[in-house]
């Protein structure tokens, strides 16, 4: 007998997780299938982490509507789910008088989209806000509702909340084929077979492949890579807002922004990528990021770069979010082409899609639903007294494992032990920041591996970086074998 569910969601990125959370308040059995070993392994882990204000997209599009609604939902969502979020505002900077009309257009588009409180600032006002802005600054569009968020926590918190309300998750479980059946769908993942009434396709860069398994109206996604560099926290204050150049046909361009954890992030590029899974950082990419930032800010402290990374946008040929029940396949719902502003939009997409699906299946609300969920306790966000009290009851919170980010053993144990917990070094890193600091895990990774091995009861040399065959160790030394 195959396993039976009402709804199967494919993909545990922000889109799938947000929909899972919204569906978890209805009386139904939901399963999320994820091909990778953990939550937040796709595009949701490598992006700018910006909650966009909503002036970019063409009025009336899903991109525009979901962006604005997502932006409005974000403050209370972050409160409920304990997600680091700072509404620091954004500046779109014009550095060429002849381009000033572009700023006015953007302002007007923002008004049509319903973006509140925008202002056009003149050069001096911009300099006041951002001392390191380019000398060429002419004016800027200021949008105070833009913000920065921790994308990992957003993704993980949505999933944790869904899980605590009964949604099941399976990892290392790629959907390999889907068949229609009398009562809905039969979903295969290698040897596992699941049955359900509704499928929700949130497979990111693979969403066209999943769609094309069931529909005659083919979709096509181009993975478009964005390269970034990340600077040490010692650069905190270099910029205080999200700083964008003026947008072009290719997108929002190369931005410079603080992150919620006090680093400075610069990027992304926009380069079509061959693979849907592998996003290599290239030296051309890094050079483009540096070139791009130099146009808007002066003196980026490039010596403080601690890492570089890239992410893949799931760009569908139509350039719009596809959020609908597939016309030639009833019961199959698409969330395809969720490129930027997908992170911002995810709460709104969750809300919208859950409504479509609830109507389709005539779902009723559960009697009890817990909308809240707490992050791992972070002793270094507590006062000295609170921290000492925590340490005296739980000494593991007094033992520092990651020195750069001051992450304790207690936090790492929690990351591994909590529901949908981490099983790999990267999993621990996304949940706690251990290994994300200036030494990039050089010191703490052997210690984190020991904790994972101990807490999960697995041999040390089976611990991986990010699942699959990404084992860190290749065996014992001669003395030990």
């Amino acid at each position: 007998m195959n396993e039976q569910y009402d709804i199967i969601i494919i993909g545990a990125g922000v889109t799938g997780s947000a929909i899972a959370r919204e569906l978890s308040c209805f009386d139904c059995k939901v399963l999320v299938l994820e091909k990778d070993e953990d939550l937040c392994c796709g595009t949701s882990k490598a992006n700018s982490g910006i909650v966009h204000a909503g002036y970019d997209a063409k009025p009336g599009t899903f991109k525009a509507r979901m962006n604005l609604r997502g932006n409005q939902m974000m403050p209370s969502l972050c409160e409920e789910l304990d997600i680091p979020f700072k509404q620091i505002g954004s500046l779109v900077v014009c550095t060429d008088e002849s381009q000033r009309s572009g700023i006015t257009e953007l302002f007007e588009r923002g008004i049509s989209n319903g973006v509140p409180d925008m202002k056009i600032l003149e050069a001096d006002e911009v300099r006041e806000l951002e001392p390191n802005i380019s000398d060429d600054v002419v004016c800027a569009l200021y949008a105070p509702t833009a913000g920065i968020i921790c994308p990992f926590r957003l993704n993980i918190a949505l999933a944790e909340c869904a899980n605590q309300n009964g949604v099941e998750f399976r990892f290392d479980c790629p959907v390999t084929s889907i068949e229609s059946s009398a009562s809905g769908f039969i979903v295969h993942s290698y040897d596992s077979v699941f049955e359900c009434s509704v499928v929700v396709n949130c497979a990111g860069c693979h969403a066209d492949e999943i769609h094309n398994m069931v529909s005659g109206n083919k979709l096509h996604i181009t993975p478009r890579r964005g390269d970034y560099i990340l600077l040490d926290r010692s650069c905190e204050g270099f910029v205080n807002h999200v700083i964008f150049p003026q947008p072009t046909k290719l997108g929002k361009g190369i931005l410079v922004t603080p992150t919620v954890h006090g680093n400075i992030l610069a990027g992304p590029t926009a380069i079509d990528n061959d693979s849907r899974d592998e996003a290599p950082l290239t030296s051309e990419g890094i050079a483009k990021v540096l070139e791009g930032t130099a146009k808007n800010v002066k003196g980026l402290p490039v010596k403080q770069v601690i890492t570089g990374f890239s992410g893949l946008r799931a760009h569908e040929d139509g350039g719009e979010f596809i959020l609908e029940e597939v016309s030639d396949c009833p019961g199959f719902f698409d969330c395809v082409g969720i490129e930027s502003p997908g992170l911002t939009a995810c709460p709104a997409i969750g809300e919208y899609m859950a409504r479509l699906i609830a109507d389709k299946l005539s779902l009723s609300l559960k009697a009890f639903w817990n909308s809240e969920c707490k992050d791992i306790v972070k002793p270094f966000e507590l006062s000295d007294e609170e921290r000492s009290a925590l340490i005296s009851s739980h000494p593991e919170y007094g033992k520092i494992i990651c020195r750069c980010e001051t992450i304790t053993e207690g936090e790492i144990i929690d990351a591994v032990k909590r529901p949908l917990g981490a099983r790999s070094l990267d999993g621990v890193k996304r949940r706690t920041r251990a290994g994300m600091g200036r030494c990039q895990g050089g010191f703490c990774s052997p210690r984190v591996m020991e904790i994972i091995s101990r807490e999960l009861g697995v041999p040390l040399d089976t611990v991986t970086k990010n699942g699959g065959s990404s084992k860190i160790l290749t065996g014992r030394t001669k003395d030990e074998s």
Partner: protein, 417 residues
């Protein structure tokens, strides 16, 4: 909590500073705070020998060398706390955390910064490519092999010819791994000559100077790296690419002094060393805060760390005992042709015991050269050397008497030919 002197870090620098301070003045109460579970710092993972030739006239392993110092702690007025991380340093007070005390403050009269250094990670090197498992800094690999007893890989390429990388090339080979190449971006190695001979040449491991890694391949685990030769401006030369199959890339591309605490308390930092600016007594720009060892500047020999740190410890003890603030004029030590930095950066003659040792590194390889030291423009030292490389620290010693009349500056420079 209170102590007369707090030592931040219990590696060789912290140990030597503590011992010298406690011996200098037996009434003082010295406290070492160490974040690791044992004293000895980086020496604990250096199980090869080669330590202590200058200090003990013996070739000791790292742990043996550390042990010589740890044994001296008994009988001296020194306490130490392990698993205790210092979070903040300010003039006269140190904040730390551990599992038994929680967050606590130690009031003190002097502080010696001995936090050592960390390795430059992949991200800071901007190496393009994917981010699979199998990329380690050489020091992390050293810890995995020597302390945990696990192998980080079987087929290895090493980028950077710093000493840790060279030592790990030998260690991995002895453990049965195949080290395919050591690539060095510069036209010269950053490591000690003796390590190149003993760790590479003796095992037929090729050292490819003016080479770098331009791509890392493999989605889950490294499957190969692409290396290329670089031109004078350190840019890869098209056509020189070579793909080397391997499962591991070790990085030995430089060490960065751990000065986050120093920066946070506004100690002045020398951009050339990334360590504090100090005077002859190893006192930083903040009175009563001293610095020594790798946190001050990266050393290749631990003997020099111990010697320098003993001076720092003695100075701290004297500072605590003396009530009068330091006065006297400062003589600047200037870097001339070919000299990247000097330690110390300035001297107060009345702070000197006897001689002044100036340590420095060159910015390039020079052959058939003279090391020149000029005091107020007059040549005091003109020493011939066959070769000088950035990988080996140099020193010159001036007599206190030579400086007594100095009114201006000391200049250290390299003259070719």
């Amino acid at each position: 909590m209170r102590a007369d002197i707090v030592i931040v870090g219990g590696g060789p620098a912290g140990l030597a500073a503590a011992i010298a301070a406690a011996k200098e003045n037996r009434n003082l109460d010295v406290l070492i705070l160490e974040r690791d579970s044992e004293l000895g710092g980086i020496l604990n993972q250096c199980i090869h020998n080669g330590f202590g030739l200058h200090t003990f006239n013996e070739e000791l392993t790292g742990p043996e060398y550390a042990d010589r110092f740890e044994q001296q702690l008994d009988g001296l007025n020194i306490r130490y706390m392990l698993n205790t991380m210092v979070l903040n340093v300010a003039s006269g007070s140190v904040t730390a955390v551990n599992s038994s005390e929680g967050v606590f403050n130690v009031e003190c009269s002097a502080i010696v910064l001995c936090m050592g250094c960390r390795e430059r990670p992949r991200g800071a090197l901007n190496i393009p490519g994917l981010r699979p498992a199998g990329v380690f800094t050489a020091g992390t690999a050293q810890r995995l092999v020597n302390i945990e007893g696990y192998m980080p890989g079987k087929e290895v390429v090493i980028l950077g010819s710093g000493d840790i990388g060279l030592i790990m090339a030998r260690r991995m080979t002895l453990e049965g791994a195949k080290v395919k190449a050591v690539c060095e971006l510069m036209p010269y190695s950053g490591g000690l000559k003796r390590n190149i001979v003993q760790c590479l040449d003796d095992f037929d491991i090729p050292l490819l100077l003016s080479h770098t890694v331009i791509d890392i391949k493999g989605k889950e685990r490294v499957t190969s790296v692409v290396i290329a030769e670089v031109d004078e401006s350190l840019k890869p030369i098209p056509g020189s690419e070579q793909e080397i199959p391997c499962d591991t890339l070790l990085l030995s591309c430089g060490l960065i002094p751990e000065n986050e605490l120093s920066r946070a308390c506004d100690v002045k930092i020398n951009p050339a060393t990334n360590g504090p600016v100090v005077n002859e007594s190893f006192e930083t720009s903040i009175p009563g805060i001293f610095a020594c060892g790798n946190v001050l500047h990266v050393h290749d020999l631990v003997d020099y760390v111990s010697e320098e740190s003993a001076r720092a410890g003695r100075s701290a003890a004297r500072y605590v005992a003396s009530s009068k603030p330091n006065s006297g004029s400062e003589i600047q030590i200037k870097t001339g042709n070919g000299v990247r930095y000097t330690v110390p950066s300035f001297v107060r003659v009345e702070g000197l015991d006897s001689d002044l040792t100036i340590r420095f590194r060159s910015g390039n390889v020079y052959k058939n050269l003279y090391i020149d030291v000029l005091i107020d423009g007059n040549q005091k030292i003109h020493r011939r050397k066959q070769i000088i490389t950035p990988g080996e620290m140099e020193q010159v010693i001036l007599k206190k008497d030579d400086l007594s009349d100095c009114t201006g500056e000391i200049l250290v420079q390299i003259t070719e030919g």
